[in-house]
Amino acid sequence: MSVLSAKVRLRRRAWFALWAAPLPIWFALFFMGPMLLLIAMSFWSVQNYRLTPDFSLSAWSYVLSLDFLWSTFWRSYGLSLISAALVSLLAFPASYAMAFLITPARRLTFLGLALAPFFTSYLVRIYSLQVFLGEGGVLPQLFHSVGLSGASLLNSYTALFLGHATLTLPVVLVLQTLALGNVDRTEMSAAVNLGARPQHVLRHIILPAARPGLSLGVLFAFLLSYAEFVSATYLGGGVFQTLPILLTDLIRGGQQWPRAAVVSLLMMAALMLTSLVTVAWAYRQKGN
């Protein structure tokens, strides 16, 4: 209800729509469109190697009855969760250094440098890592020279993890550094003033205050690692069967895109659920 005339209301709505409408329209057309098609596609059938619109549950029943589906699902989930946690741990000292030990002007430069590789061809960096870790590569040679085995590091979880780190480190670094940088300095001084030792300040002041940023870092690392298949192929050697790998494998049964659609809907469901839980946890207030 409003006291304004229809003309004025229309003019206001038009101005509002000018800003509010473009993105939803674009996404409704070019994102929701494909997504709905994807959902529809999970009910299609394949006849003579041809994807045919249909209403068939065969793709769903096929995928859900795969005996290794859930082991793959949990392996995929677990590996990316471990990677996300490890990347976060790996990044933490660096973020801490950038947030507390470097001047703000320098911090911006460091953040830029941390972010730069993120936008450099990811494929190239994975290929380079393959060269780095493979038989006779830099790292095995280095290990060999200090008396270790010198065997190739590829097709191991270490290699896969480095691939995940290559993808996710920059994002995690930026999120962590911003989170730590926003921790209230007076609160920290107050704690010190009250006799808290540095370890306590870290545990009871810094970490809780930075929790949203730190958990978002874990979440992003998880999201990116979960959907990752390039390093799973080139560094993991395809021996870690994850959902993205399963997805490409399924297609090879003769244009089985409906099955791939089912797997990706499962993946999306898992990701959305995880995101919701993490975000809710990250922004949960103490004391309700």
Binding site: M1, S2, V3, L4, V8
Partner: protein, 366 residues
């Protein structure tokens, strides 16, 4: 009868189920200095913003010089606002800030510069014209904000707690200047504040708002001397309140039968006995003695604390029934009293100094 400048008719604003402003009727005359006062969340700023066109009323009319302006968008209203945080544009110099409105109104260059210069001069900030607004002191920023609005020669200037960011000293200085400017220019000011001293010292009329409604509208004296409700009395402060039942004694005296005994009042004609009502007594009308027997309405109480406020002292007393009483004494009266906290004292006042609250409301209801 002259046309009122600004009229609000039955103005309402709700956000969902929350009613921020309820049935406001208000007229503002040309050249008047009107203050709207109330606790935070009472709807005073919302009312002001509706005048400026920053909020759109849910119901009701706003008229400027008799013309309904509900439909007029903000930028066509010519009701400039001085913001609580000033909202000076950080990417512009003082001059650019002041010229901003003129540019928007497409005032030609020479006239714009001349008017801008005139106002910079008038507010004593010509020397800072090309400085970045962030590099000014609080008082200077205040003047820029005023100049920015006044340069538009508005019929009415809206001010939203404009002095709240200043320190006490600067605030008092700016109050004086505001008053002077308003007198000189003859512009209508609508001034929102939560400070009594600002409202009472500046305004011709004061509106007290509570929970979206107007509680009382009147001159500062009216409100100070004759608060209409318990709320106004409490909000204005320095008033002691007693509640009880209106009663006629066997001797024919009329008073309030309160927990602190029967308190006499002077003018009972307008009320019926048997109704519940509140009695307000202003602090400067209360007499404090160490011995009883000084006045008509006398209540024994305990001296709780003293509060120095310059030349006067506020004594906080508490009766046996737990009613709080404030009494304002001159410094030398206090010395004469020579009482200490915790000591038994007597508060007394003349029946003429007691004001019955909520009477009109009762009459209307009856």
């Amino acid at each position: 009868m002259t046309q009122p400048l600004l009229e609000l008719h039955n103005l309402n604003k709700s956000y969902g189920t929350f009613e921020a402003v309820k049935d406001i009727d208000l007229t503002v005359d040309t050249g008047e200095f009107l203050a709207i006062m109330g606790p935070s969340g009472c709807g005073k700023t919302t009312t002001l913003r509706m005048m400026a066109g920053l909020e759109e009323p849910t119901r009701g009319d706003i008229r400027l010089e008799g013309q309904q302006i509900n439909d007029l968008p903000v930028w066509q209203r010519e009701t400039p606002l001085v913001w609580q945080n000033l909202a000076l544009f950080p990417y512009m110099t003082v001059r650019e800030n002041v010229e901003f409105g003129l540019r928007m109104k497409k005032v030609p260059g020479p006239e714009r510069q001349q008017r801008c210069a005139e106002w910079l001069e008038r507010l004593g900030i010509a020397g800072f014209a090309d400085r970045n607004v962030a590099k000014l002191s609080g008082g200077q920023r205040q003047r820029v904000a005023l100049a920015r609005s006044l340069v538009l020669q508005p019929k009415v200037l809206l001010l939203d707690e404009p002095l709240s960011a200043l320190d006490a000293h600067m605030s008092i200085r700016m109050q004086g200047e505001l008053k002077r400017l308003q007198r000189e220019l003859g512009i209508t000011f609508v001034y929102v504040t939560h400070s009594h001293s600002e409202a009472f010292s500046l305004a011709d009329r004061v509106v007290i708002m509570n929970a979206g409604r107007i509680e009382q509208l009147g001159t500062p004296q009216d409100i100070f001397l004759r608060p209409k409700s318990r709320f106004v009395a409490q909000f204005v402060g320095g008033i002691s309140l007693f509640s009880g039942m209106l009663k006629t004694t066997r001797e024919g005296k009329v008073g309030i039968d309160s927990a602190d005994g029967l308190l006499q009042i002077a003018d009972p004609a307008s009320v019926q006995t048997g109704t519940k009502c509140d009695l307000a007594v202003r602090a400067d009308r209360i007499n404090v003695t160490t011995q009883p027997g000084w006045g008509t309405n006398e209540v024994p109480c305990t001296l709780m604390s003293e509060e120095f406020a310059g030349a006067v002292v506020n004594l906080h007393l508490e009766t046996a029934a737990g009613t709080g009483i404030v009494a304002q004494l001159q410094q030398r009266d206090l010395e004469r009293l020579s009482a200490r906290a915790g000591q038994q004292v007597y508060a007394s006042w003349h029946p003429e100094d007691g004001v019955l609250l909520g009477v009109t409301a009762l009459k209307a209801a009856a």
